[in-house]
Symmetry: C2
């Protein structure tokens, strides 16, 4: 058996980011040829494997897509883009370009080059937050409340059209709250787990500030699981033309996160409860029965994932 | 009473087009100062009143919006844009720019300049076509099936965000099938009434070709009513932050349209029934109870509106 035989060609957008790099690096380990497009606006060059082909630029621009040279990919993983509802208020046009126009351009590239599979990083944010409703299934009404959510939802609708009209199979993965090694610890606007961990573990913080209610919760899914599911979805026909919640189906409260971090790190730091961020979600979690019906590997428990993330931070 | 006192400043996008020019010209007759932006891609310079201020260009481009010189409008009527589901397949990116990016830019202009009211030409196309469902109310599920519909729906969601976050009141008018004097008779891809009338009345056609089933139907609403409702919606608070079907609530079949044209024109032309256009809708019509509850003027009967349209064609 040849060790270095290349199995497939894949494109991963956002391959310098948290989720995109986890997917790209797993694909590379499986001996696939991976092309990465990233503008390094929030991603890091250090995340990009030397065994990939890296194109620096906006995947919403023709000049960048032109550099792909009409290569036919076995699948396109469109993972990149501005990834926060809150931050989407700062520059809604950038959000529309990076999250929606990009999808259109990449789907058109797929048609032109004969690529038949398109995997998209969608989001739980499309559900919005409804009073007294916490758990959402894929068939539930959508209610996008940020520019980010509007753009992701439009991308899902574009994929549906390309599937029906041009035969491009899609998978739309509505990621819930992804955490784990590789997450950006310097971003205090996104990632509850990373924000708290940074404050607990970095000596330059003498206390931990939590903005908002301790009963808020998240559906926290481990990065390795997300990367595994995403890659599986590119090969497994049960995922074909599906919109799927990617969550654990479990609520983890802020209080539980803080308690577990304290236990695992033996930290004695004082925790200050401050006012919440305007518009911050109280919490929603996934009805993930559809995922569990087509994906058999067990999902990582939060205490296991959190421990691995702490080890990663301590090794940095 | 001064005859020429200017009452308000309004912006009408697409003011050289069928619906936009009808709105602009009514506003001008009411002594308002009207600014028009149009790229003349489908609109005509002849439609633009000399009493308006005309800016030629794409309203999805900063350079065009810059020419508005930060004027504060009493309301922005965003009527322009690519207006056909079928044609949106030819250039989906143009569709996204002209129908969605433009909305974002104009809403941002409204915030910047203190304009508090934004009227948007949305579409019945957001409902899609469901098997065995013909009539739609505003609360029904949306199911956009063309790039056009995706982009219009995203614009509605943007307006909702701008209303909540920045206090811009909006009205989203989901126009059904608008017909009447001023409609482009040379466009054979859009407008059932105009397509049939052109063939009946133009001597260069020796017969009338109808593509598809005679039982297909449309909810046909007269241009004058649409312009009146649209202008009313900019002043009447009952329309504030509402999504409203703009239709008659009546089905008119292809057969009824043909029969009435034949009667009104005394035409003896042969009608040929050909295969339908792929993707053409069988028909949907409006549940317009919301409109009727806030708008009191009676809507024009189809036989009255069609007669006026024929007179207009014969006078051309």
């Amino acid at each position: 058996m040849k060790e270095n035989k290349i199995v497939s060609n894949y494109l991963v957008t956002g391959g310098a980011g948290f989720i995109g790099s986890a997917i790209a690096n797993k694909l590379i380990k499986q001996n696939h040829q991976v092309y990465i497009i990233d503008n390094l606006r929030t991603g890091y060059k250090a995340n990009i494997s030397k065994n990939s082909i890296f194109i620096e630029g906006d995947f919403s621009k023709d000049e960048t897509i032109f550099k792909l040279n009409n290569i036919k990919f076995d699948a396109i993983f469109h993972i990149g883009g501005q990834s926060s509802g809150e931050i989407s208020y700062e520059d809604p046009e950038y959000d529309l370009n990076t999250n929606t126009l990009s999808t259109l351009k990449l789907l058109q590239y797929a048609v032109k080059t004969g690529c038949k599979r398109f995997i998209y990083a969608s989001t739980m944010s499309v559900y919005g937050e409804e009073k007294e409703k916490e758990q959402f299934k894929e068939k539930d009404d959508v209610n996008p409340k940020s520019f980010y959510a509007v753009g992701k939802l439009a991308s899902e609708q574009y994929m549906e059209i390309f599937s029906k009209q041009f035969g491009i199979d899609y998978v739309s993965l509505r990621y819930f709250n992804v955490y784990g090694p590789g997450q950006n610890l310097e971003n205090f606007k996104q990632g509850m787990v990373s924000i708290y961990l940074k404050q607990f573990l970095d000596d330059s913080f003498d206390k931990v500030v939590v903005k908002g209610d301790l009963n808020r919760f998240r559906d926290l899914i481990y990065i390795d699981d997300v990367a595994d599911i995403t890659i599986e979805s590119s090969k497994n026909n049960k995922f074909t033309n599906m919109i799927i919640n990617i969550g654990t189906g479990k609520k983890t409260t802020v209080n539980e996160i803080l308690t577990l971090i304290r236990k695992l790190t033996n930290s004695k730091k004082e925790v200050i409860i401050a006012d919440g961020t305007p518009g911050d979600q109280f919490g929603i979690f996934a009805d993930n029965r559809l995922l569990l019906s087509i994906y058999n590997k067990p999902l990582t428990d939060f205490n296991v994932g959190l421990k691995k993330m702490i080890e990663w931070i301590n090794e940095k």
